[in-house]
């Protein structure tokens, strides 16, 4: 009975966290959907987003949520840079090449980050109040984060479906060769798409910074969650990623009611491998 109350109490939190997980995963799955590349530097970029919020907040006192705007821009530019330097040359090579190329970016960021920032935990001391509903406590930071996620999701969809670059992105995702033949500047669009993916990652990092303490290595576990969510929701499917995030958030919080939290990674990875085997196109269907 006690566990049931525990379950009930932690569920809303899990759902709210799930939004942010979904946002992070959207970044990964967007890149996968557009160019068939799995960005293994996803984790460190999330961590960079966390640090971005930290420095903006502690050095300039900027509200972390307002600070998301410069972080988003930097995330976008960083992604474009990574694409141009590391990914473009291997975009048509076998998958292994792009995996290794993005992983090398991962190593570069982690190496520099560890040297500059060490691995001690950092913290963004920002409280946004909370609401109590019986046994359930809803933290302000979580709720705002969920709201921000929905804003970004909405923005992403408006962009993809109502703007010209967005249409180009969808064209390239659908059939790059055909899009090129019709005059779509595919290199620029690919760079933009990669940048959008990293932007979402950075923003999600910024939000997570308001929840938990972090270090440059913290992105790793969110990257892995993004993989799980990605395959759960169907790689290449941003809406699937959002729902996948919610599902993972729920699974995480409910398993914590019954098991020690250190078992959670095991469950996530078990889930990951099982989905890859049983339904690799995900619960909501991968982009085809």
């Amino acid at each position: 009975m006690q566990q049931f109350t525990l379950l009930l109490a932690s569920l809303p939190d899990g759902i709210l966290l799930g939004f942010v997980y979904g946002l992070a995963a959207m970044g990964l799955t967007l890149i996968w959907g557009v160019m068939n590349v799995i960005n293994l530097s996803h984790g460190p970029i999330i961590a960079l987003g966390m640090f971005g919020t930290f420095f903006l907040f502690t050095r300039t006192g900027l509200n972390p949520y307002v600070g998301l705007i410069p972080i988003a821009i930097i995330g976008l530019l960083l992604g474009i840079l990574i694409y141009v330097v590391a990914v473009h040359r291997v975009i048509n090579a076998p998958h292994l090449s792009s995996l290794l190329a993005t992983f090398s970016v991962n190593m570069i960021i982690i190496g520099l980050g560890t040297a500059a920032l060490t691995t001690s935990p950092y913290n963004v001391d920002f409280a946004a109040g909370s609401i109590k509903l019986g046994p359930i406590t809803l933290l302000g930071t979580r709720m705002i984060a969920a709201l921000v996620t929905m804003l970004f999701t909405g923005g992403l969809f408006l962009f993809l479906y109502r703007s010209r670059p967005g249409r180009y992105i969808r064209a390239v995702a659908n059939n790059r060769a055909a899009a090129e033949l019709m005059g779509v500047p595919s290199t620029r669009i690919l760079a933009l798409s990669f940048g959008l993916g990293t932007m979402l990652a950075a923003v999600s990092g910024g939000l997570i910074a308001t929840f938990f303490p972090f270090s440059i290595l913290a992105g790793g576990s969110y990257e892995l969650k993004s993989f799980v969510i990605g395959v759960l929701g169907g790689l290449g499917n941003p809406i699937g990623a959002l729902f996948g995030g919610l599902i993972l958030g729920i699974i995480e919080s409910s398993s914590q009611a019954f098991l020690e939290s250190s078992w959670v990674p095991v469950i996530e990875f078990g889930l990951f491998v099982i989905i890859l085997l049983v339904r690799p196109s995900g619960l909501f269907g991968a982009k085809k």
Binding site: F103, S104, V266, L276
Partner: protein, 323 residues
């Protein structure tokens, strides 16, 4: 002349490893011995990974899981069940082999990137699992009782013995790699790497071949794990399953040239040499990972076949010698 033709492919690799073994013996310095051990360990790991990666074309990002798992099993048997070092090492190898067999039957069905991701997942899950596994000491791991070394003539002698065992394992890895490469089984693996579907149409029983390759690639890492943690005096989840080390293995294999016997050896030598320099240099110490990352990026972008692979392509005459 015929004998030279037949064995030329194994000559250089054996010479390279022999040089590594003799170097500390000749100079007599323990520091050289320890450096040589690190390189020999890398050679053993890289050559084993090469069977899966270079020959069969399946990229495992999390191969280090076999090193950690075998290591844990061996150390557990050594400390808790009083097994001798030799049998513990063998047990570690067998345990890893069995793990590879079980995992392989599940994940070898996946192709390309999905397989790679699954291997990462397995490594992370194994680390998290062992972290919670009380029998293996949970987060604190297993620590060797110092008295264990007495059985091997004291700590200093144990280090010496470990070196020779490590050298033996490196040679074993090398020979295994060579014999696979030059066998009919190896030809089947190469065919799978080039075009798995076409290989199946030609009669290669891919599922079985891949599983055997996976198992073979896991055994020696398991054994090396036991040896390393024996020397180290303890084993912890964090040390046993380091993901970045797994990738560094990949870098070594790719640097030297995957798909060749000599490649991983040269790659291990070059990489460990570079790493040794970086770790001791004040400036590079902290960003060693970044330097590796840049190196990997350069390789991927500009010489994907690695050094040996590049040479083989440019100079066909060398192909026999650079197997």
């Amino acid at each position: 002349m015929k004998l030279w033709h037949k064995y030329s492919g194994i000559l250089l690799p054996v010479l390279a490893v022999a040089a590594l073994i003799l170097w500390p013996v000749i100079t007599g310095k323990p520091s050289n011995r320890e450096s040589a051990f690190t390189i020999l360990k890398a050679v053993a790991l890289a050559s084993s990974l090469n069977i899966l990666l270079g020959y069969t074309g399946y990229v495992s990002f999390g191969h280090i899981v076999f090193y950690g798992f075998g290591g844990y099993v061996g150390i557990f048997l050594l400390t808790e069940k009083d097994w001798s070092l030799w049998t513990a090492i063998l047990a570690g190898g067998v345990a890893s082999g069995i793990l590879a067999f079980l995992l392989g039957s599940a994940i070898l069905r996946l192709r390309g990137a999905y397989f790679a991701l699954a291997t990462i997942g397995i490594n992370e899950a194994m680390r998290a699992f062992i972290n919670n596994f009380e029998l293996f000491g949970g987060p604190t791991g297993i620590t060797l009782n110092f008295s264990v070394y007495k059985t091997y003539g004291g700590a200093a002698q144990a280090l010496q013995t470990s070196f020779y065992i490590g050298a033996g394992l490196a040679l074993l890895a090398l020979l295994t790699s060579y014999f696979v490469r030059t066998s009919k089984f190896g030809l089947g693996l190469l065919a799978i790497r080039e075009n798995e579907d076409a290989a199946e149409v030609m009669g290669v029983v891919a599922p079985n071949a891949k599983t055997l390759a996976y198992v073979l690639s896991a055994i020696i890492p398991g054994m090396i794990g036991v040896l390393f943690f024996f020397k180290n005096g303890n084993v912890e989840p964090h040390d046993a399953f380091p993901l970045h080390a797994s990738i560094e293995l990949l870098v070594m294999v790719m640097l030297g040239g995957q798909g060749t016997v000599l490649g991983p050896i040269l790659g291990a030598l070059a990489y460990q040499g570079m790493r040794g320099y970086l770790v001791t240099s004040e400036f590079f110490k902290d960003i060693q990972l970044s330097v590796s990352g840049i190196l990997l990026l350069m390789i991927v972008l500009f010489i994907p076949a690695g050094a040996i692979g590049w040479l083989r392509l440019r100079i066909p005459l060398l192909r026999r010698v650079l197997a």
